[in-house]
């Protein structure tokens, strides 16, 4: 049962083949068994989960269940969940019991999905390896000596190890797609504004977007049907009709125009990964798609501007953590200044402090124009590159990451090398476009992800394109040995 997709679980729940309490218990048991090794969860909400499962069973029995009613899922610990500890992977919020619910998790709750727990993540979502978490590194189920990627590493590792059938993540520069690629899952970052950010602890407000982590595109569609939609409590949420993401999954893709940006296949990409991506593209051609080379000339600038824009936004987003109203406060503060500097110095880890420092620096007097303003201008150029490309093609494809999962500790001391591992994912956040990573093969037993980028609000097409590939291949059904 634990290897089933949520589409299958949904059917099993409706047919009465299994109850939500049984399913929930099954996954809770798997979490108890494997979490000590993988460290995917920060909080396991067993009591609430069983209670919610019982309620879901009543709903199912009464015949008024929604597709996700009774389906257990995990939430990244970046979403505020009322009455449940919400840490964002930080010591700063180790004692924070959220007094309100994020819109995203509330939608799942209302749909009857059962929350198993809150997943581990890079501290405040700042990281690409899940090594910056105050709660320790998360392991990759395919090779526990390697990172699962980040920042949604806990969610991805949990789903890859079948400790949860699906999970939520957030993506600021690749934090859903990169770990999904490194753990062999389907991850979708929707268009900016498609999913409400209310109650999702902000890293970089103009880039952050929540999305699903699942086995398959079909499951991602089910998750999106719940998550997506306008929220009046988020000014940047878009008031636009939400399609039924499951409706067009099976549409044919004959004639689909796929753009391959030449910049995504150059220096820095592992040859072995390039071969996997080539094979995936060939598969698409076999399905009737038409491939053409395109150019996104400013690709190389995406990482540099990201490390201006994201730190700038985060440096002030994180000012609210000051030890006054909630969160960590240092012992015995001597004065106000001491209270601020020690509470923040102790509450934040090294990577978060680094980014706050960078962000503060680039916004400070004398540097604003050269860094922040310049980055905002290049952001427009990057966005224009995509705009031009989408006049010629329907989707853009390429590798999600330049290499497979790296070893724990391998890049931890070298921020810049770590940052460059997000080279293919970051530009998408800058432009606000939707993109998915889908399993496309393996290199030395480690999963490789194919990134599919779509035009604004074209998630339906992305899922359709991913689904057709998953109908023709079985990469997404592969399981790490220990967790079969």
């Amino acid at each position: 049962m634990h290897t089933k997709t949520i589409s299958q679980l949904s059917a099993a729940l409706r047919s009465g083949e299994v109850s939500s309490v049984e399913l929930t218990t099954l996954f809770l048991d798997r979490i108890k068994q494997h979490n000590p090794a993988l460290n995917c969860f920060i909080s396991i909400t067993e009591a609430q989960a069983l209670e919610a499962a019982a309620v879901a069973d009543q709903r199912l029995t009464a015949g008024n269940g929604a597709p996700l009613t009774g389906v257990p899922i995990a939430h990244k610990d970046i979403f505020c969940t009322q009455g449940v500890k919400t840490t964002c992977g930080s010591r700063m919020l180790d004692n924070f019991i959220a007094p309100y619910e994020s819109t995203c998790t509330a939608r799942f709750r209302d749909a009857g999905a059962v929350m198993l727990g809150k997943t581990n993540m890079d501290e405040f979502a700042m990281g690409s390896s899940n090594e910056t978490s105050y709660y320790g590194a998360v392991k990759n189920p395919w090779d526990q000596g390697r990172v699962p990627g980040g920042s949604s590493g806990g969610s991805v590792s949990a789903v890859a190890a079948r400790l949860a059938p699906a999970a939520t993540g957030t993506d600021t520069g690749g934090s859903i797609r990169q770990p999904a690629a490194l753990c062999g899952l389907t991850g979708l970052k929707p268009t900016y504004g498609r999913v409400s950010r209310f109650g999702m602890i902000a890293f970089a407000s103009s880039l952050d977007q929540a999305g699903p982590v699942t086995y398959s595109a079909e499951d991602a569609a089910l998750m999106m049907n719940v998550m997506a939609g306008f929220d009046e409590r988020d000014s940047t949420s878009v008031e636009r009709e939400v399609p039924d993401y499951s409706a067009n999954l099976d549409n044919g893709i004959e004639g689909l125009k796929i753009g391959l940006p030449k910049e995504y296949f150059g220096e820095g990409l592992d040859d072995s990964i390039a071969r996997v991506i080539d094979a995936a593209v060939k598969e698409y051609e076999a399905l009737g798609a038409v491939v053409k080379e395109i150019s996104l000339p400013n690709t190389g600038l995406a990482v540099p501007i990201y490390y201006v824009v994201a730190p700038a936004e985060c440096s002030t987003n994180l000012s609210r953590f000051d030890g006054v109203r909630f969160g960590h406060r240092c012992d015995d503060p001597q004065d106000l200044f001491d209270l601020y500097t020690r509470s923040r110095g102790e509450g934040f880890g090294a990577e978060v402090k680094r980014r706050i420092m960078i962000g503060t620096y680039v916004l400070s007097a004398g540097y604003y124009d050269a860094y922040y303003l310049k980055a905002q201008k290049i952001r427009r150029l990057i966005s224009e590159d995509f705009r031009a490309a989408f006049e010629k093609v329907d989707v853009i494809m390429g590798p999600t990451t330049p290499s497979t999962a790296f070893k724990l500790g391998e890049k931890a001391d070298d921020p810049v090398t770590m940052y460059l591992s997000d080279i293919y994912t970051i530009a998408v956040n800058m432009a606000g476009l939707p993109a998915a990573s889908i399993p496309a093969g393996f290199v030395d037993g480690l999963p490789v992800g194919l990134q599919v980028i779509g035009n604004y609000f074209d998630e339906s097409r992305l899922l359709n394109v991913a689904h057709k590939y998953q109908q023709a291949t079985d990469w997404h059904l592969q399981l790490p040995k220990e967790f079969q």
Binding site: L93, Y100, A204, T236, T316, R325
Partner: protein, 477 residues
């Protein structure tokens, strides 16, 4: 050396919205600490600001009233600094693209020529909370009820040349925001306050001197005194061979002095940048015109109308339009009184304002309503009572004895208009004062007043003075 004083004001007007600028928490004053601070006002993790429509409309209304350009695109920015009353560690304000740019106002200091003061800009921002420094041993208490209250910061050019001008300008804005119904103007509660930028320069010099900024002045009197103190301090400083340093100062009303607010912290670096949680505010032409249509008659327009239509002198019109309440009171009273608006003006400016002033009351709390005063003036106009009796009627109304008609009735103050009755009294008085009659007829004309006085005395002031004059002239001839 003759010094010229240069003053610019940054006025903070709390906008009279029901809810906060970025949250649905109440803005009502005086609640228990932190009971009106919601998750957004507290800067809790993950919450987001959503802009209040009314705050935008009110800002636009102000802009249109002072002839500004209301921007079709304005942007909210974060102003970053740490302080306990600033929960997010940044204030959401407007920096590069404010909602209102340009504009001007005419001010008048009594006895001087009118002057035009230019307005640089007005922008929307959120207010901070309050720090309470007393009552907690070794600690400061923070109340965030005020955090997130919408503010319109109105920034003037450094166009004022004296403390008196600064006060006149502030009063003018104070009156205007109340006319526009965008601010309650309550200075005790902090709804209307200002920072004053003060510098001096040798008369005739073009370049501005170094300024100091006096923070948080919340009364007209303090504005005047703080500026005067600061000007003296700067003159003493320069004449004593020193230099004015650019700094923030605080006015201490108990000691009547300003002092430096220098902290051990670094020079401020606010790191303004566009708030990524808020999109640009876009107002189209149709919106701006629709707001323009809701503008009330503004003080200067009202003043001109009072002069042209009601025949008031400039001074009277100026006093009566200084606040919307007073102007409304006057207009209502004048309308009921029927004719002679100047008589109404005299009564409002003299007896009414005098009594209010003496009792320390505002026009809104006047025991004599506009309807009552107008009713009384109607009785003067229709000769039911004389102006002199009216003073007595007014006093009775002030004391709560009812409207003019009931007072007149109860006290029998109705004017005597029956000429036969008056003639009888005149005859009696003439008969009982033969000496005076003889002297009058012999040419001592001023004794006419004596007879009038006697008649008024005998009628307890109720005889119509004009009628008495006429009848006496006939009888004494």
């Amino acid at each position: 050396m003759e010094w010229e004083v240069v003053i610019g004001l940054e006025i903070h007007a709390q906008l009279a919205t029901r809810s906060k600028i970025f949250s649905g928490a109440s803005t009502a004053y005086g609640a228990e600490p932190n009971t009106q601070a919601c998750a957004i006002d507290l800067g809790m993790p993950g919450v987001l600001p959503v802009l209040n429509k009314e705050a935008v409309r009110m800002a636009a209304k102000f802009g249109l009233a002072v002839g500004s350009r209301v921007s079709n695109r304005s942007v909210f920015a974060r102003k970053n600094y740490f302080y306990p009353d600033l929960p997010k560690g940044y204030q959401i304000s407007q920096f590069e693209l404010p909602i209102v740019e340009g504009g001007q106002l005419e001010i008048q200091v009594e006895g001087e020529d009118a002057r035009v003061i230019a307005i640089t800009r007005a922008h929307l921002e959120e207010d901070a909370g309050k720090s309470l420094h007393e009552d907690f041993q070794g600690s400061t208490g923070v109340d965030l009820n005020r955090a997130g209250t919408p503010l319109l910061e109105i920034v003037s050019e450094p166009d004022m040349r004296s403390a008196k001008e600064a006060v006149a300008y502030m009063k003018k804005i104070h009156s205007l925001v109340q006319y526009l119904e965008i601010c309650d103007g309550n200075m005790q509660e902090g709804s209307f306050r200002c920072d004053a930028n003060v510098s001096i320069r040798p008369k005739g010099q073009g370049k501005l001197g170094t300024r100091s900024e006096i923070k948080n002045l919340n009364s007209f009197r303090f504005v005047e005194r703080a500026i005067n103190f600061e000007v003296e301090r700067q003159i003493d400083m320069i004449e004593g061979g020193g230099k004015v340093v650019q700094e923030t100062r605080l006015y201490d009303s108990d000691k009547d002095e300003t002092r430096s607010m220098r902290s051990k912290e670094e020079a401020f670096d606010y790191r303004y940048f566009p708030d990524p949680d808020l999109l640009p505010v876009e107002l189209d032409k149709a919106y701006i015109e629709a707001v323009r249509d809701t503008l009330p008659e503004l003080p200067d327009e009202k003043k001109a109308r009072f002069m042209a239509e009601l025949g008031l002198a400039e001074y009277e019109a100026g006093v009566l339009t200084a606040s919307r309440e007073l102007a409304d009171y006057f207009e209502e009273a004048a309308k009921i009184a029927g004719d002679d608006a100047r008589r109404t003006a005299n009564w409002v400016m003299g007896d009414l304002l005098g009594a209010l002033n003496k009792a320390g009351k505002e026009i809104a709390d006047s025991p004599v309503s506009a309807m009552w005063l107008g009713g009384m003036l109607q009785r003067i106009n229709d000769h039911t009572i004389s102006g002199k009796i009216a003073k007595q009627v007014f006093e009775c109304m002030w004391n709560g004895e009812g409207d003019a008609d009931s007072v007149i009735e109860a006290k029998g103050l109705r004017q005597m208009t029956d000429s036969g009755e008056i003639e009888t009294i005149i005859d009696e008085i003439i008969a009982s004062n033969p000496g005076q009659l003889e002297q009058y007829r012999a040419g001592k004309n001023k004794l006419f007043g004596f007879f009038v006085g006697q008649v008024m005395k005998a009628t307890q002031g109720k005889a119509n003075p004009a009628q008495v004059n006429q009848l006496l002239k006939q009888k004494l001839a």
